[in-house]
């Protein structure tokens, strides 16, 4: 077959041999848990194969997790999820909050011993917004309001005009086009890690594809990467804070997505920690008396109404009726059935920080509690709606859902419970993921299940979802008053005033009900009893092994 000739050239003998010998590739013997404890190593399952290890190219939970251990940004998240200095030892912010000056640690080094310079950040950030490089995540630079990022991405200015420059080897100056209160949390994000121009250019097309071409500045360096099979990172001695890193090596001996398979592997000692992601696995873990820890993943999940004119849910009363009557407690506890999920009633989740330290946004604005499963209110509103529209029954409507196994179960639950609540026929349309996105963008639905995960540590990440310029606002809802409040919050430097603006905007949502919030997402994990300090935080990557250790009793 001449088509495969080229493939054959490269690997004919190797693959033939490995096929005949019955192994994809030869790897080191895996250690037993006793050995791992003795050697300070942790095995876990990273799930999927990381699609890319190039920091500016691909952002997803798996790549972020590995890159988070290999690189370090200007700031970093600590074990509790707070922002603390990382590669930068200090930061000074101008009074108008638009100029941020970072001092790079003199002790910060790349894994080949070369010191980390301010220029490395400049290079990396310019590469991110370079239209020729076309990173999908260049929009994060626009979100961060780096000066000229927008114009560079749309090819109106050269990339050298980006609002970031090195004042000297250890001083980085960042200029923002508006005050961005959460910019420090953004700098701990993957795409803002530094990159070495010489390494990127040396390897060009094969950059970050194997241990030789991937040199980071973080606590671990890549030791092995067998595609779709295994990955291993080992502690780097060049890291400035290496003294506080306890685990010597972190390995994913297999890239397995299936939760039950991973749990089985954990039970037989193949890995040291794994997610407990379905009600079935939780029951097994509970029966086996395993330690189960919960964590939040922090996405707000909603049923979004299609409020476009002519649609059923253009009627506000009906939206309120659905929102009031949802039994979130039953949904979260019995249907989702995974600890860590919490019923929620409002767009901004309860963990979002407010303007004062120690208080969350929710505590600060003192939102009154909302009654879950408020059936009398629903019944009253439905009666009013039927009287207003002179109907005897609510017309049938369609729920739009993904076709994943989990989403199908939810769809059937909502179909049944909404039909019971409203006394009408509810249809379900489950379609492939991309079709669902396309349909909800085109407004071809009545109600769609829709989750939104935060990009940064500020209520804005949720609030601007329903602003009119947002492509992701599938409900079709728009309110000039709301847009104005969001715009004001965007340019407001005073944190306390912003919180009040958000509260005012949230009140509009409360009144208009374009979406019915159901819950905020979470998860649970189990780990070997001796393994301590593995963290999962909402911002930043998960699991985070930087503070992990084996408790040698």
């Amino acid at each position: 077959m001449w088509i495969t000739n080229r493939l054959a050239h490269q690997s004919a003998l190797a693959s033939l041999l490995s096929v005949l010998l019955g192994s994809g590739t030869v790897i080191a013997e895996q250690k037993s848990r006793e050995q791992r404890i003795a050697d300070n190593e942790v095995y876990f399952s990273s799930g999927d194969e990381p699609p890319s290890m190039d920091i500016s190219k691909q952002v997803d939970s798996v790549s972020s997790m590995w890159l988070g251990h290999i690189y370090e940004g200007l700031m970093r998240t600590n074990a509790a999820g707070a922002i603390i200095p990382g590669t930068a030892e200090s930061v000074s912010i101008s009074p108008d909050k638009t100029t941020w000056t970072f001092k790079i640690r003199p002790s910060a080094k790349w894994q080949d011993g070369v010191p980390v310079k301010a220029q490395d950040f400049v290079y990396s950030w310019r590469r991110l917004v370079d239209p020729a490089y076309a990173s999908e995540y260049s929009f994060i630079a626009i979100t961060a309001s780096l000066v000229n990022a927008d114009a560079i991405v749309s090819k109106k200015l050269p990339k050298e005009q980006l609002g970031v420059r090195a004042l000297d080897d250890h001083t980085l100056e960042v200029k923002l086009s508006r005050p961005v209160a959460f910019f420090d949390s953004l700098t701990s994000f993957q795409v803002f890690y530094p990159l070495r121009q010489d390494i990127v250019e040396k390897f060009a097309g094969s950059f970050a594809t194997d241990p030789a071409s991937l040199i980071g500045n973080g606590p671990y360096r890549l030791a092995r990467w067998q595609k779709e099979q295994s990955m291993r990172i080992e502690k780097s001695d060049t890291y400035w804070d290496a003294g506080n890193i306890k685990i010597k090596a972190i390995e994913s001996p297999a890239m397995v997505k299936d939760g039950q398979a991973n749990f089985n592997n954990f039970r037989t000692g193949g890995i040291d920690t794994t997610g407990v992601s379905t009600p079935e696995i939780i029951r097994q873990a509970q029966a086996a008396k395993l330690k189960i820890e919960t964590f939040q993943t922090g996405c707000t999940e909603t049923l979004a109404f299609n409020v476009r004119p002519g649609r059923l849910f253009a009627n506000k009363k009906l939206r309120h009726a659905v929102r009031a009557g949802l039994n979130r407690s039953e949904y979260v506890n019995k249907i989702v059935g995974v600890p860590g999920y919490k019923p929620a009633f409002r767009m901004v989740p309860d963990y979002m920080p407010g303007s004062q330290p120690g208080l969350t946004y929710r505590q600060e604005v003192k939102s009154p509690p909302v009654k879950d499963f408020d059936v009398p209110t629903t019944q009253r509103l439905v009666k009013e709606y039927l009287a207003d529209t002179k109907q005897t029954q609510i017309p049938a409507f369609t729920l739009l859902f993904d076709d994943s196994v989990v989403a199908k179960k939810m769809a059937e639950y909502f179909q049944h419970s909404l039909s019971k609540l409203l006394g009408n026929e509810v249809k379900v349309e489950t379609v492939p993921f991309k079709t669902r996105l396309q349909k909800s963008r085109d407004g071809q639905f009545d109600m769609v299940f829709f989750g939104w995960c935060p990009d940064y540590r500020d209520p804005m990440t949720f609030m601007d979802l329903l602003a009119n310029n947002n492509e992701n606002n599938s409900s079709g809802w728009s309110s000039p008053a709301y847009n104005k409040l969001i715009e004001q919050a965007n340019s407001e430097a005073d944190k306390a005033k912003r919180v009040q603006l958000f509260k005012a905007a949230e009140d509009i949502l409360e009144e208009e009900a374009p979406v019915a919030v159901t819950d905020v997402s979470g998860g649970a994990l189990t780990a070997a009893p001796e393994l301590k300090g593995v963290k999962r935080t909402i911002f930043g990557f998960a699991p985070d092994f930087r503070a992990a250790y084996w408790d040698h009793k």
Partner: protein, 323 residues
């Protein structure tokens, strides 16, 4: 055998190979058309990519060109340069690399399943046919039904649970059980996924072999052989099996390609670093190049295997001539 290396035979091979390329091209064209008919494209995301960024990406991947131009570029790259292009998802890995790195694992369990399944299936089929309607025959049937009744993905869980997690038979290596629920790199890791995959093959082989054996058992040449006083063993091996196996050989090609093309669920459950997940993801992510590349790769493989099957068939069946 003397009929093999003739000009006619070589011409036949040549024609078949030329035809193969036309077939592949037709397959690729159909895939292209259908692929683009699915809603959404590789750049559709949960969080919509801003227009300017999207324009840059479309330019980089050539998605902004008219469809016919994209078609010509893709065909040219595939057929004239043996390059399947880059993946939209695993952005640093070309489809060629993906095949080189992950096809061996899929092929390994496929080959294991093939060998194990064929031998077991043929053996079971022969025994079932020789002892027709006996307890052995029924037992073989029952096994077959288990093999087909429950989708292999479900069997995978059962196999993993009863052989590796809480093994019914406890074999040990050091302190671990011999079978690992998840893992890759040692020979033992091939067995569970390979076995799971082989159940379908065993089923098919047993059924066809049994039915062929029964057919042949009453053929004249068998009766003649018996009448001539050939021993039962000789009749079974030389006459019955040899003749019964012929039609079964033609099944091997498609079965082989089916076995090595990677099973999403089996690979997923046992942690086999194969191509199954890539193939499935390419469809759900509209990853045009991966889907196209793998379709053409497996298609080519299939055609070659089919050709080989036909040649082998010709070699063992003297009634067929190439020309």
């Amino acid at each position: 055998m003397s009929n093999v290396l003739t000009w006619g035979f070589l011409r036949y091979i040549g024609q078949r190979l030329a035809m193969a390329i036309v077939t592949l091209w037709a397959l690729a064209t159909m895939t292209f058309v259908f692929m683009r008919a699915v809603p959404g494209d590789p750049l559709t995301r949960t969080k919509e990519i801003p227009a300017a960024v999207r324009a840059n990406l479309e330019q980089r991947y050539g998605l902004n060109k008219p469809l016919w131009k994209q078609y010509i570029i893709q065909m040219d790259r595939m057929f004239l340069h043996a390059d399947f292009g880059e993946s939209f998802r695993t952005v640093d890995r070309s489809v060629n690399r993906m095949i080189i790195e992950n096809f061996p694992a899929s092929a390994t369990i496929g080959i294991f399943a093939m060998i194990f399944g064929t031998i077991t299936g043929l053996g079971l089929g022969i025994i079932a046919a020789l002892y027709r309607n006996s307890a052995i025959d029924r037992a073989a049937m029952l096994l077959c039904v288990v093999g087909i009744a429950i989708p292999s993905a479900l069997i995978a869980y059962v196999v993993q649970y009863f052989l590796a997690v809480f093994p019914l038979v406890k074999l040990h290596v050091n302190q671990d059980y011999w079978f690992r629920p998840v893992g890759w790199g040692q020979f033992r890791d091939v067995i569970l996924p390979g076995f799971t995959l082989s159940l379908g093959i065993i089923t098919m082989m047993t059924r066809y072999m049994r039915s062929q054996m029964v057919d042949v058992a009453f053929a004249e040449f068998v009766r003649t052989a018996r009448a001539k006083g050939a021993s039962t063993f000789r009749v079974i091996t030389l006459h019955q099996i040899r003749n019964a196996i012929l039609p079964v050989v033609s099944l091997l090609g498609p079965i082989f390609v089916g076995a090595i093309s990677g099973s999403l669920l089996i690979e997923n459950v046992f942690g086999v670093p194969g191509l199954g997940a890539a193939y499935f993801n390419s469809i759900s992510n509209s990853d045009y190049n991966v889907l196209m590349g793998l379709t053409v790769f497996y298609g080519g493989f299939f055609i070659v295997i089919n050709l080989i099957t036909d040649i082998v068939y010709g070699l063992i069946d003297p009634r067929i001539r190439f020309g």
